[in-house]
Symmetry: C2
Subunit: 414 residues, 2 copies
């Protein structure tokens, strides 16, 4: 069963919106052993939607579509698909009562514009949407299935989980797809490939290996397909063990995990708490840590000390250090760690201070200069980085490398 | 000149990576009056890349490609494009010297695997990449241009800005595309459409209007194309003024802006400072505020009080309030605002406390319950929300509505 995505929306092509729906859909399908074969992204214009439908339906059995189901001028998906399938648009009472119910709940009066949303291609089955007014649609036509969903992420997700996925699940083929993702830090993809590929060559006829590099990290993804799930699962596990042995210091975890999640596991294991003192990362590092469910079990808190007076008053960084070395200095981040340990009464602390930019750089400390410190009452480690000239990238890179270095520190002190 | 994107990578189709490159490329092109016409996303398999190339080149003049240029097994873009164009792969000395220089800088030994990266389709021009080892390629073939870039976002961006864009710019047609984006809060898209569309109908032959809804916000995007830039610019401005008059309380700003950016502008205008006390948002609200360049001019700092002891000791929330009303209560967020005003010596403060989930809910305070407070020494306003059961969505929704409410508060107190 070949599944394709057809994403409809000028806002996606123009880059005003980052398409996260595709990833959400892919992950939901993946849990059921289903994969997206190909994706088309087209503009909100009838001829483009028709062309996309034509290409996608010639190469797939199931076409999942998002976008263009709303009530406004640019929402033309229903018209386009009705034209493509040569069907009439008919008024749906089911859609009307759903819409009326949803709008009443929100105390919004029902207008003629809303009623236009209730015209659907003939014989389309509606898929419930408890998150919004636009219902999904399931349309079968010449052995193909067209599934239409709104572009609003949580509405799409609701329809996917409650409407589309249960039906797609029952239709999947006998072939089992097994994936295993291995998360590594501290080594580039070429270096990793040189080490592991010679030892895995016997598996490459059945198992494919992909490298997903990002700053400071490389994810390795093993994929195998087979009619016998146990067999391919065992082969993937063999590969994983070979990689485990090749990269003893680099692997942080497997599957759906992250640095912040692995740090959480280690802190739980040690029954220790963490606090953070941030300057240049402005709360982003604490956000990463607290994005993990249950992080309140080990995370005490964070202070974003965006001004020197806060570093002095709350974190007890001495005026002398700030005058002599500046806020972006090894001395300052060391004091920030000590200050956070006291302020939050935590076992460990991490501190960041840097020049995120675009302003604030000097010849000695250009934009992108960052000092990191982490440790406990006995040992504080520091490291200096020189990242880029881009503010967002500096914030993200600082947080990522803070997590990497702190993970290594926790791991080694086990 | 029709421009298309061809994104290559299993990781994107599988949803393991969210494709932000497309949006970055679209925004860079947009600044030069260029638009992406259509996008294909295909797997790391030769036949899929060939099919994607065939479809994209039949519908476009320029095909921008990302992904598959690395040194590892799954990087097969060069082979595929060479096959598609019926060209040999030839060893590039330019690529070799670039690669050697980049690896030497990082103290990584050059291996045979690296050298394989240096085979390029014959007559491909290389595009410099100072951010990584994989050079970009500019290939002209039968009146079409193929531009290949690596998938790593900052490498792609470097090549786009320094190599691809300057050349594409000189080739664009005489038609000027003008966009205007209007950011609104506090009204749904249907309601907005009902108000503004009757007054804009005379413009719809020349100007298109799109609605980009997200939680609590709707962006309106006006687009016009014309040979006379002044004429279409004037028409767009007329439309904008009509919308301004229709939505006096809803518009927060225009163009590339955001709530956090507009809040920054208002704080600067009033010469006032801000601090934050976060619980459930865990640093994310401070991250939003500090993502604005220059925010250190008005942002004092933030405390993430993830434990009651921190709320008591640092923010001076009384034990009595915590015992009687709990941390997720109107009383607590009020005290948190007062505490932050003192702790950071700021003019304004915002506080959040809620149950982000998935754990921690009770019948009286289910997951998704959030209390928000904001204000100054004279006036503190509060609001209660009930969001969803999803942790990330609750964190993001809380931050968004905190920004919306605080923006309204600042705006009204001008």
């Amino acid at each position: 069963m070949k599944i394709s995505l057809l994403i409809i929306g000028d806002e996606v092509l123009l880059g005003q919106v980052i398409d996260t729906n595709s990833s959400t859909i892919a992950k939901l399908l993946y849990k059921e052993g289903l994969e997206i074969n190909k994706k088309w992204t087209v503009a909100d214009r009838e001829e483009e939607i028709l062309m996309g439908l034509s290409e996608a339906s010639s190469q797939s059995d199931v076409i999942l579509m998002t976008g263009g189901l709303g009530p406004t001028k640019d929402d033309i998906t229903k018209k386009a698909i009705a034209k493509f399938l040569n069907r009439e648009l008919v008024f749906s009472e089911a859609n009307k009562s759903h819409l009326t119910m949803m709008l009443n709940k929100r105390n919004i009066p029902v207008t003629p514009l809303h009623m236009e949303q209730c015209y659907l291609p003939a014989d389309a089955e509606v898929l419930d949407n408890q998150m919004g007014t636009a219902l999904g649609m399931w349309i079968e036509h010449n052995e193909k299935i067209f599934i239409c969903m709104p572009g609003v992420p949580y509405e799409m997700e609701y329809i996917m989980i409650h409407g589309a996925l249960p039906r797609l699940k029952t239709m999947s083929s006998g072939l089992t797809v097994v994936h295993q993702t291995i998360h590594t830090v501290g080594m580039g993809e070429t270096e990793i490939a040189d080490i592991i590929e010679p030892k895995l060559s016997a598996y490459f006829s059945e198992i494919s290996l992909a490298y997903l590099p990002s700053q400071g990290q490389v994810k390795l993804r093993l994929t195998g397909k087979h009619t016998d799930p146990d067999y391919i699962e065992a082969r993937i596990t063999e590969c994983r063990k070979i990689i485990d042995n090749c990269l003893p210091a680099q692997i942080i975890g497997y599957g759906e995990t992250s640095l912040e999640n692995e740090i959480g596991k280690l802190l739980r294991q040690k029954n220790k708490s963490l606090s953070i003192a941030e300057s240049c990362t402005g709360g982003y590092l604490a956000h990463k840590i607290t994005s993990v469910a249950g992080s309140s079990d080990y995370f005490k808190g964070c202070i974003v000390a965006y001004q020197n007076e806060i570093k002095q008053n709350q974190l007890k960084v001495s005026e002398q250090i700030l005058n002599q070395h500046g806020a972006v200095s090894e001395e300052c981040v060391r004091e920030m760690v000590k200050g956070a340990l006291v302020l939050f009464n935590s076992d460990y602390a991490i501190a960041t201070s840097g020049i995120a930019g675009p302003g604030g750089g000097t010849p000695e400390k250009p934009v992108g200069t960052v000092w990191l410190a982490y440790g406990d009452v006995n040992l504080i480690k520091t490291r200096k980085f020189l990242f880029s000239r881009d503010r967002q990238r500096n914030i993200e890179a600082t947080a990522t490398f803070a997590l990497i270095e702190f993970w290594k520190f926790l791991k080694n002190s086990l």
